[in-house]
Amino acid sequence: MSLGNLLSGPPSIVAAGVDVFSDALRAQGAEVADVDWRPPGFGDPADLAALALDSRRAAANRTAVERLLAAGSVLVDVRPAREVIGLADRTLLHSGPPLTWEAASGPMRGALVGACLFEGWAADVEEAEILLSTGAVTLDPCHHHRTVGPMAGVTSPSMWMWCLEDPVTGGQAFCNLNEGLGKVLRMGAFNEEVQVRLRWMRDVLGPVLSKAVRGSIDAGNDPLDVKAVLAQMLQMGDEGHNRNRAGSLMALRELSPSIVAVEGVPSSDIAAVLKFIGGNEHFFLNLGMPTAKLALDAARDVPGSTMLTVMSRNGTEFGIQTAGTGDRWFTGPANTPVGLFLGDYGPDDANPDIGDSAIMETYGIGGFAMAAAPAIVRFVGGTVPDALATTERMYQLTLTENPAMAIPIMGFRGSPTGIDVLKVARTGWLPQINTGMAGRVAGTGQVGAGLVQPPQQCFEQALAALAEEARTA
């Protein structure tokens, strides 16, 4: 036994606790690094100890992380939700943990109403509200269908979905098409402008993208490597959640040739499709999110792992899942983001946190790769050094660094990846999420963008459940 070189020379010391020892060591000329230790942010000490000592934990987290890192993501198809996930008539998917109409917030209600109108299930808002409030329309989380949706995430049977596949596991994940900014369904708007756009997306955009994607693959081309685009975005000022400019343009570049090659469609429609994609800075978000979803689904169901597989919000509650606790949700009331507002909207207009897009942070980018997109940090009046510090902090919450998602300004260090519930508890730092802000009142649309954190409550429950599981394992 060599104790890892311990006896081979004067050791460097890492010290946590009282500083008298460190002072005495420095007086001897020893190399000492003090840990800024403080009592855990939450959690029963017995639970923390049970998890710290769980002999399965290290290997389980390694397994979860390896699966997450190994997962790839290629674009294999674009098809209506009805076909790809068998979404039944009168069923709507929504973001976040399970939700009832009664508990739904303004923008979620607005989006659900808008989807009922779009599907023709209701002729007007009142009819839609009756359907929704009487349970005539079934609500189900996107996450229960290998699907993710930004903001309200409302997905109806006729909406076209990006179909992504993990070449490693054959896993699949889905996401609807991004509508753009402003008055859009996902932000809770549902007026005629929204309906017109949704119909156009159903009748023109979806079919064109479907033919383009299939046509390209049928012609023998490799499917679009979405993960590779995500990796490149981080080199170009995007963080993949609140900033998708470079990614959207790259997606346009990759898709244009096959879009233009689509036959039997008026050139005016082709032009409209290209203009729509080019004019939507967040077009790529709906490709990035299912890419993250693929990786995190690959890491599901690893007994003993304390890694998060889901962070998601429905506008009312924030919910998380872990690799060690399967499909179980741990929820708490969603916080309201802090940030900058469009026009004369202000903090009172903002709805609590909403959307499955926190899957990006769960995957280690978005707020975790803040340093890659310094522009985002100014949403809360911060500075570039703040962006670096945020990412530095997130390294202490995570299990690994994702070499595929390198952050240039951090010396191309991989993004902090694999959020560990135990580390969240011990550091007292909650994950940093970048997000859009929907108007509190149904029909408003987007009011701003900013930063938000999960409620600690989710993590408290997850920690207790993981500890319980560790004790009975």
Partner: protein, 501 residues
């Protein structure tokens, strides 16, 4: 293009479109927020003239005249009066022109956990974690070190024994060592950790389930001209039945493999017999010779163990340094009052004195029937360990904070029970920088009050920051008899009691 006109009541509006000016949306939202916060400004939108922003402007009643293109910057402000409007517009220009002041590099983010701290170190370099956080949280920090493939010294007390066992098993599997919990003393390649003395480097490795025991042994070796390679503390419970010597066995194996270590001495309080046997059996299988300095009724004397080791090495046993005190007459029938800061030294004193004095009561008794309870000034023979956990709650260890022991000396001085006072004074890193400085006035005062022979076991070396001789001279000047060996000090006290064995 610019328009400025009264609008509704006394309010004044300015809506401008500027070409050739671009700023990103975040910057512009910040500008809007800053202008909106000004007194006299009721609405503001500074944004690129995209369709979305034009719609927002229209909703605010601030739509520009004529066509606008997304490359143009829209500056729309509504203010209470012309002056406020002019000031606001000037501030827009100022805000647009303002550069973010460079704030240099990111403030380093402090590491919150041992895991994060170790993550920064080069993987091949020798490294060690030290954990002194409250006991209930120590296990997570120690587990971090093990997971990182690093050994860890756990100074914290209050760690449940089942956690200790789990940590030590995990450490064994990971090929690293858990020193502790409640490990106060270690020396690794010359680096003194916690309470440790400045001793010369040399061939003897110590495995110590006892901190002050290791200090006594390493100091005596130093005085004999023999140095130590490493002192690996293993925690006071390691040789108990429950822990089974897990760390002791790993430490022995590590010293066996260490080229700098030629001989090993295992220092401990009385171990569980079955564990002692297992350690002996394990040691017999090693190539490095291992000698035990485990205290027991049969082997009560750490100094004797050191002397035996010196003999093993073919070295002469020196005369251990001492400062004889005043020629004081024996006080037969007096009580032994041992006031100790070191637990193992207290044990050694009791083991040595019991055959001559009979049972000695203590807060850390050799057998349960001799438990002193909380009355530290009871009459009769007694030995108090002020370093016991029960007496260190909410205060520093007596090697740092002498308050409780000084109070006990004052009480003893005020009592009329005939007594001989036996003390330990431990020098070295981590200890009081001048223990004699606090003790001397207390001893002088006591000896002025009444007849009170004082015997001190002074554990330290000349190299220690306090210096053995300087401290010994000061204590001797106050009337104490001073010995480098605790066994010698105890025997001297027994002679003063007329009970020399």
């Amino acid at each position: 293009m610019s328009s400025s006109a009264p609008a509704g009541g006394d309010a004044t509006v300015s809506v401008q479109l500027r070409s050739g000016v671009y700023a990103d949306s975040v910057k512009l939202m910040q500008v809007s927020r800053r202008i909106g916060a000004r007194d006299g400004v009721s609405a503001v939108l500074v944004a690129m003239a995209t369709p979305l922003n034009l719609e927002l402007a229209a909703n605010m009643g601030l739509a520009p005249d004529g066509d606008a293109s997304p490359e143009q910057l829209l500056i729309a402000v509504r203010a209470d009066d012309d002056a406020a409007l002019a000031d606001a517009l000037a501030d827009v220009d100022a805000a647009l022109a303002e550069r973010e002041r460079s704030t240099g590099t990111a403030t380093a983010v402090a590491h919150r956990t041992v895991g994060a701290g170790l993550d920064e170190l080069a993987p091949e370099a020798p490294a060690l974690a030290i954990v002194s956080v409250p006991g209930q949280y120590a296990v997570a920090e120690a587990a971090d070190a093990i997971a990182a493939g690093r050994s860890v010294l756990v100074f914290s007390d209050g760690v449940p024994v089942e956690h200790e066992v789990a940590l030590k098993r995990a450490a064994h599997d990971a090929g690293v060592l858990v020193m502790g919990p409640d490990c106060g003393t270690a020396i690794v390649s010359g680096v003194a950790l916690g309470f440790a003395n400045v001793v010369r480097p040399g061939p003897v490795g110590l495995v110590a389930a006892s901190g002050t025991g290791a200090q006594q042994v390493s100091c005596l070796l130093d005085m004999a001209g023999v140095g130590v390679s490493h002192v690996l503390g293993v925690g006071g419970r390691d040789l108990s039945e429950a822990v089974g010597g897990l760390a002791t066995l790993d430490a022995l194996a590590a010293l066996d493999a260490d080229p700098a270590t030629e001989r090993v001495l295992v220092v401990s309080k009385p171990p569980a017999p079955s564990v002692a046997a297992a350690v002996t059996e394990f040691a017999d299988g090693l190539s490095v010779p291992v000698r035990s300095a485990a205290l027991s009724a049969e082997t009560p004397d750490l100094t004797a163990a050191v002397e035996a080791l010196l003999t093993d090495m073919g070295l002469d046993v020196p005369v251990w340094p001492a400062r004889p005190g005043p020629a004081e007459a024996a006080v037969p029938g007096a009580a032994l009052k041992g006031l100790y800061s070191g637990g193992t030294l207290a044990d050694e004193a009791m083991l040595l004195a019991s055959p001559a004095l009979g049972g000695i009561r203590s807060n850390t008794p050799l057998e349960p029937g001799l438990d002193l309870g909380t009355d530290l000034s009871a009459s009769g023979h007694l030995v108090v360990d002020f370093g016991d956990d029960a007496l260190t709650v909410g205060r520093a260890h007596p090697m740092i904070d002498p308050t409780l022991r000084l109070e006990a000396i004052a009480e003893l001085a005020a009592s009329d029970e005939p007594a001989v006072l036996l003390l330990d004074v431990v020098l070295g890193h981590g200890a009081d920088p001048d223990p004699a400085g606090a003790l001397v006035p207390a001893l002088r005062a006591a000896r002025e009050q009444r007849a009170l022979p004082v015997v001190v076991a002074l554990i330290g070396t000349e190299g220690d920051p306090q210096g053995w001789s300087a401290q010994a001279d000061a204590l001797a000047a106050a009337g104490a008899s001073v010995f480098a060996s605790n066994a010698a000090a105890t025997r001297y006290a027994l002679r003063l009691l007329g009970a020399a064995s």
